[in-house]
Symmetry: D2
Subunit: 309 residues, 4 copies
């Protein structure tokens, strides 16, 4: 057993007694059914080693973590032109706030708040039917993780579709400013499916590994994005990846990361590893409570931080 | 001539023709007198090498860059307890905005917007007269840079005192919420002097070097802060160091940094070097236009980025 | 010819040269086709006299003026209980702002901004199909004006339906807070039809006459609402009837009124008369430019004002 | 005993058991000492009759009610030009909010929120020393009420001066936008004194009587302002006189009014009477709880309302 495996296991063991803390997301009915005791961790290093603990092989709803991957897709399709549709500044407000959208005439602050991610999905949808776009997103995740058994949880997608009034508000609001090319129904059809992707910690860590390795997946050798783009996506994750808790995450963990209300967090230690954690209980900023703590402990024990040795 | 020296000189040479672009800060009358053609760069590596270009030895008003150093002082005095008085999230608004201060009952978003820096200065002032506190700040900078000829530009300090109505508004506003221990006049007396510190690029880069070297100044061997604290200050600089342009700076430059309206920027490449640039013309976010570009070029040519190779 | 007839004609004559000033609403494509030269006035006194000038018999899209009548309907159906769903304070912001809706958790500020009117329409819809509710609104207007030829302009209704993204955003936003009982599509189906009611100045002045006569239409003898309720609806028109121009209208005109982006304004001089004006060019607050001026002149010449002789 | 006297006494008697409800303002220490059981009413008719009940002859701190009188003074001095410095729209936010001041670049929404009243006081101060301006305000009140024993409560004025941080914030904020001609200290010196004017209900009702009588004080025959200006001041009181409770007051009471945190309210029934009530307990909008109820009952029993019979 390597040192890293020991660290992962220790973190899991020391936090396990706190499983159940935090608040499971309930605004999507289907998500509220998740077992709050679940807790998984996966660390995949750029050398190809995999370290797992707990429920690391159980699929969960990745929700907003999908925004990292659709951003990567949109950058591939449209290049830096996407920044006409979305900013890259932290929002200083909640994940689903509509206030800044009004002040800034339909241009969301960044691609990792809901409005921004919807704008990005609108760009991914260009030239496609919603069904094709969903297929493209799923295939992209399978390609990144190099695993075929990644699917959309249709029950979650339907649940989001039926109750996602806030997202319908955001999409229609952007459309009222002429900042959405497709009808709200079409864009959200894709958006709800990307959020409903079900992946395990292991799959997620593998899918994000290219960001830890200068744009190339070391497991497959696929060059996903350039050096520069990998850095830039990491920069966005660091400044904007945790809604209005991004500054705190950077302060405590010191790694680029992206959370989802399903309780997952993907974190990237450049040059070192890709990390995925999952625990459904959320803190007041909507980020996984135990997941954040696990990453803070991992950063402390490994010394991984983008901000210095 | 080392490669790094060549890079610094090339960047300076290639940007010099654009000197005068941007808008010199004029809200403090004394700052408006600065020659817009000034342009200096200094890179001091953790190995102790110094690389200069242009007006690197001319003193300028460091303004908000001082916030990094008073934060360091306040953390030394009060530890993590300071976070009861100030947050650590990006603000999503301008450097002198008062809106969030109302919504959040007198707790500024972070120590690098004006309100937050005033709250930090209030903590530095604890147990001191304003004159003593100013002396402490000046001595701290001299200690960090290991240079004695660092002084406060009294004309600038007086100019700020006479026209700093917005800062008086911010301070009184916090005091109305009981979030300032001292009278606005006293706190701002110190604040205006810290902002009026006059330092050269070389001095500034030396003063910030401990942040690039895990908390210890490699030139003097002084351990200024712990590893962890150095990382955390860097994290705050990255997420909050450039007001509402922090996300963009992280995206383009990829290094922790702090700008001032005097046209200076201090940037930190952890494990590599401390960098200071100065050019008075500002971009629309209030950050040095040429300074930002110089740092972006430096990051590109050296490969320095906290977000990966 | 009575004095009042002379006043109405003089006002019309003196303002007619300015027809075409202001900006015709173009956010609903169908409204943009209106002839900007149109200008009509109708004054119907509580004694039953009618004074007309210009295009007083030409039907136009009453738009937001309909909010007065659906509020009256909702108060009849649900009484003062409606105030659980909507406030009665001026908003201090634009007619279609979504900001306060976020701050106040889906409770619109008052029934005369779009969000509030949609909430009111949701209440009118209770127990009905959209088609029935539309029928009820049309019949209510015919009853009030005692005229049968009041209809919905289906082209305008369709145009609003196709382009009313902002209203879809508002409705979905309220629904996300659980503050709308029916699906956004159903509520807006009714809302767009009520806004598309086509009425002439004469018809509109007659329909509003009950508000000038303590709740009873003096032309028909129908008691529409109680004394108290008539006063209260007038109070809401005065404080909230012109979006973020309500204070200015009260200052200059001094009468309760409600404007619509179709260029109409209904004003009430309690104990005296009901007045309707129509001129499509709007001022910067979205209220009829000439219509506001005509009412100001009328108030000056007649001495009508709720604020004193 | 006239009917009106009976009504006033009945209202006082029926509400007296509730004395002590609401929250006495405590943000100015000196105000917190007031006896919460105090309750006075005064109605002075345009015919010159005076009807009193309870503590109608006891002086209290008129606080923001003074804004009506300084507005009258400023209009007299500068005419309609004052509207370059202050708007006349309801604010949609709390009495001391600074948010809109930022959005609207230092122009307060109306003369009855704190920022707006400070801007008005700045205009009253033009050409005077603070001491002279305070003298002018006091003399104006004595002239209006035709009573000499109206004074400033110096203890209250000092208390406000020592703790009025929010007002210092507002004043400095406006000054930072160049929207205040005098130093914050000077303007607030006057402002705190005008707020500290001590007047009884009887005095206050007399002082406001010109607003009920088309600009002329019927007791003295002094023409204070023109017909038109009296109406306009009434209009401002109706739309903006009760901070973010103005709409509710118009709905329930239906008369122009202005409240103060000292627990007083001045209300105007045009053509009928001037009314002053005082009870220190405040409701959630910062307006006198019992005072509002007393005025609502008075309006109901007398039928006084600007919105119809």
């Amino acid at each position: 057993m390597t040192d890293l495996q020991a660290i992962v296991e220790e973190i899991h063991a020391s936090l396990s007694p706190r499983c159940g803390e935090g608040k499971v997301a309930d605004y999507i009915p289907q998500l509220a059914h998740v077992d709050p005791q679940k807790f998984g961790m996966a660390v995949v290093t750029v050398d190809g080693e995999t370290h797992l603990a707990g429920d690391a092989d159980e699929a969960f709803s990745i929700q907003s973590i999908s925004k990292v991957f659709t951003l990567t897709l949109a950058l591939g399709k449209h290049g830096e032109g996407i920044w006409k549709r979305v900013g890259r500044e932290p929002s200083g407000s909640a994940f689903n706030s509509i206030v800044q959208l009004e002040q800034e005439a339909g241009i969301p602050r960044n691609p990792f708040i809901n409005a921004g991610a919807i704008a990005i999905t609108d760009l991914v949808l260009a030239g496609h039917t919603p069904k094709e776009a969903i297929g493209e997103v799923v295939r992209f995740l399978r390609y990144l993780a190099d695993e075929e058994d990644i699917i959309v949880d249709q029950a979650v997608a339907r649940s989001e579709q039926a109750t996602g009034f806030r997202n319908f508000a955001l999409a229609n609001f952007m459309r009222s400013f002429g900042k959405l090319d497709h009808a709200a129904e079409l864009v959200l059809g894709v958006y709800f499916h990307q959020c409903a992707l079900a992946m395990s910690c292991r799959q997620l860590a593998r899918a994000g590994l290219f960001l830890a390795n200068s744009g190339t997946n070391p497991l497959t050798g696929h060059r996903v994005v350039s050096h520069l783009r990998a850095r830039r996506i990491n920069a966005l994750m660091l400044t904007c990846g945790h809604y209005d808790g991004s500054g705190d995450f950077a302060y405590r963990v010191g790694l680029p990361g992206k959370s989802g209300v399903g309780g997952g967090i993907l974190a990237v230690a450049p040059g070192k590893a890709s990390v995925a954690v999952w625990s459904p209980g959320l803190n007041e900023n909507g980020n996984s409570l135990l997941g954040s703590l696990a990453l803070e402990m991992l950063a402390t024990r490994t010394g991984w931080s983008v901000f210095g040795a």
